[in-house]
Symmetry: C2
Subunit: 208 residues, 2 copies
C-alpha cells in the first residue's frame, strides 16, 4: 500500500496511459534530490526515499536497486534536464554565461548540496563515478559549440580544444566548492573566464 | 590488551620517553590512510582502525572520537608533512614543478584514493570540510612565494594574486580527478600551467 505523497496527491486525472512510469520516476528522483540536499549521500536510504516519494518499496528496490542506483539515475535525469548553451555572439559573453550558470548551480541552497552529495557518492561507488562522468560529458558537449563558433568567427585560434576551454571555466569554481572548500563568488567566476580568455588568445588550448 | 601490530613490532627500546604519543598517532594515522585508500571514507571505522594500528580501542575513541576525527587529524598531519615549494628561478619552472607534484599525488596508487576519500569525507562532515580547507590553505600558502618571487623579478605584473595563481594550476587537475572523473595525465598538467602563464601575462590574476 503506497503512502499519501506528492505522487498520489497530484490529483485525479493526471495519470495518463503511459505516464505512470514517468511520474513514479519523477517522484522518486525528487525525493532522492531532497534527501541528498538535506542529509548527504551517506544517509541516502531506499526505504525512506520510497516513503518520501509515496512509491512502494518494492518498486523502488526493483527499479533502482540501491542508493547508488538512485544517484546514477538522478544524474542521468539532471543531464537530460540541463539547459542548452547560450549563443550570445561572442566567446566572452558565452563563457561568462556559462560561468554564471555554474556559479548559480553550486551556490544554490538546494542544488549546491546535491552537487556536493553526488561528488561524494562518486568517491564511494564506481557506478556513481561513471554516472557523474556521463553528466559532465553531456554538459561539456552541450557547451563545446560556443567555442567552435568562436573558432569559426576567428575569435579563437584554429585547433582550439573546445571541450578543454569549457572545462577550464568550471574547474576553478568546482575546486573551491568541492576541494579547497573556499568561498565561491562572482569574482572567482569573473577571474575564471578572464584566465581562460587569455589562455585561448595565447593558444594554450590548441590540441596537442 | 593490544594486538600484535606495526606499533608493537617496532622493537624494544624504540619507545623513548615522550615518543609514545607520537608513535601511537603515527600508527593510527597510517592505519587510517590505509583504510581510506582501500575502502574509502564510508567504510572507515574506529574499532577496525584501532585493531589495524595495534592501539587500544579506548585510546582511539578518547583521542579521535569518530571517523571524522581521524580524517581531520590525518589532514593536519598531511599538511605538516607536505613538501616545501620549489625555487627554480622562473615562474614557469616552479609552476611546472607544482603541477607535477599535484599530478603525482592524485595519480599515486595509494594517495590518489586517499585524496578521493578525504574529499568525500568533507562532503559528509563539516569538521572534515574545515580540515580539508586548512590542508589546502597550508599548501597554497607554501607555494604562494613562488609567485611573489616572480613578481619581484618582474616576471608577473605587480598586484598578481599569488594564491589565486597557485589555485589555478591545481584546479583543472582536481576537476578531472574529483568532479568530471576524467583521465589525468601530463598533457592536462602541461596545459594547466600554459593557461595560467597566459593569464598571469595578461594580468588576469591581479587582485580585484
Amino acid at each position: 500500500m503506497e503512502q499519501q505523497s506528492r505522487l498520489e496527491t497530484s490529483g485525479p486525472g493526471t495519470v495518463r496511459p503511459g505516464g505512470r512510469t514517468a511520474k513514479v520516476r519523477a517522484a522518486v528522483l525528487e525525493a532522492t534530490r531532497d534527501a541528498l540536499a538535506e542529509e548527504g549521500f551517506h544517509a541516502l536510504n531506499l526505504d525512506r526515499t520510497a516513503a518520501r516519494a509515496g512509491v512502494g518499496k518494492t518498486t523502488v528496490y526493483r527499479r533502482w536497486g540501491s542508493a547508488t542506483g538512485l544517484v546514477a539515475d538522478l544524474l542521468a535525469d539532471m543531464a537530460e534536464q540541463s539547459l542548452p548553451a547560450t549563443d550570445e555572439g561572442t566567446l566572452e559573453a558565452d563563457l561568462r554565461a556559462n560561468a554564471a550558470l555554474v556559479l548559480a548551480a553550486l551556490t544554490d541552497p538546494r542544488m549546491g548540496p546535491v552537487f556536493r552529495a553526488v561528488i561524494a557518492a562518486a568517491a564511494c561507488s564506481e557506478d556513481c563515478a561513471a554516472a557523474l562522468r556521463r553528466f559532465y560529458a553531456t554538459r561539456l558537449a552541450e557547451w563545446a559549440p560556443v567555442v567552435e563558433r568562436a573558432v569559426a568567427r576567428g575569435e579563437a585560434p584554429a585547433g582550439t580544444d573546445a571541450t578543454e576551454v569549457v572545462r577550464a571555466v568550471s574547474a576553478p569554481l568546482y575546486y573551491r566548492f568541492a576541494v579547497s572548500r573556499e568561498e565561491l563568488d562572482a569574482t572567482a567566476a569573473a577571474r575564471a573566464v578572464d584566465v581562460v580568455l587569455a589562455g585561448v588568445a595565447a593558444g594554450a588550448f590548441t590540441r596537442r
